[in-house]
Symmetry: C2
Subunit: 156 residues, 2 copies
Amino acid sequence: MIDLALQSEELSRIEKQLHQAGLKLTPQRRATVKTLLRLHESHLSAEELFAKVKEAEPDIGLATVYRTLEVLAELRIVNRVSFEDGITRYDLRTEDSGHFHHHLLCQVCGRVEEIHEDLLLDVEQKVEQDYGFKVADHRLTFLGICAKCRAKQHLQ
Amino acid sequence: MIDLALQSEELSRIEKQLHQAGLKLTPQRRATVKTLLRLHESHLSAEELFAKVKEAEPDIGLATVYRTLEVLAELRIVNRVSFEDGITRYDLRTEDSGHFHHHLLCQVCGRVEEIHEDLLLDVEQKVEQDYGFKVADHRLTFLGICAKCRAKQHLQ
DNA sequence: GTAGTTGCAAATTTTTTGCACCATC
DNA sequence: GATGGTGCAAAAAATTTGCAACTAC
């Protein structure tokens, strides 16, 4: 969740990006982006997002949500991510955190935490040096047990 | 690709793991595992794997391949991985490389390279210390441009 | 003979596409 | 009046499930 002032700032940033690509921020796209901003960090699937957007924009079609997500992914406004369940989820790329974030997937409770610190600077440098691979982005998920579930386990 | 002696060694290791779980290494499962061993590092989808396995075992059904992969994933013999295309792929977890490997996905040619060196030991330690998250496994993919494609680009 | 396994077809779920219509500059 | 965008329904992919038949201890 981010506050409303920041949300509308992000929204106009995104509008600008769309315009630069010759695309429009239609009411449907606006509603979709606003929902993504509001439910930031929820890692919604297209269906889940559709259900949420429909609350604000009841006439929107599922296909539009898919098409919007495709556009946003192309403009690198959202990232496609998928965890172990085979479902594609969408993750807003917020400007503040320097573009990168990592995920902590708890195998007990299933929740996904985000880390907004970039832990891979050294590793990326090594990959570039040792493998000649020019890194543009990354996806990093740790699977394990979150602090809460560990605490619960210790109580038992 | 790994050599044949190693392949049959891995195969009997996997058979043992199945037996310990009260499951059988049927001809269909054997053919599936052998194909995975043979095409190691190909990151096949279920459909692709099915097509390959069918060459050795023409009567096998697609559902069996899906069910076999589910079993193998549960026993942690394979990992489910997915890159940006929304398709679930399967990756054999070989014993030799200490269980971990990372991926380099080239955004120009689309190929996936593997890194068999564990680059995350320090990072995992930090995650455990700073976030209280007990790491059991990870998924790491770098997106960027591979050495070959970079070389080609420089020639132009 | 019991427990695990299979192939097939049908069902489900996820995602994409075709198309006629709408909005806007 | 082009161009981009939309909703709807149909289609296509990807995956799962039900079930009767099979296999091996």
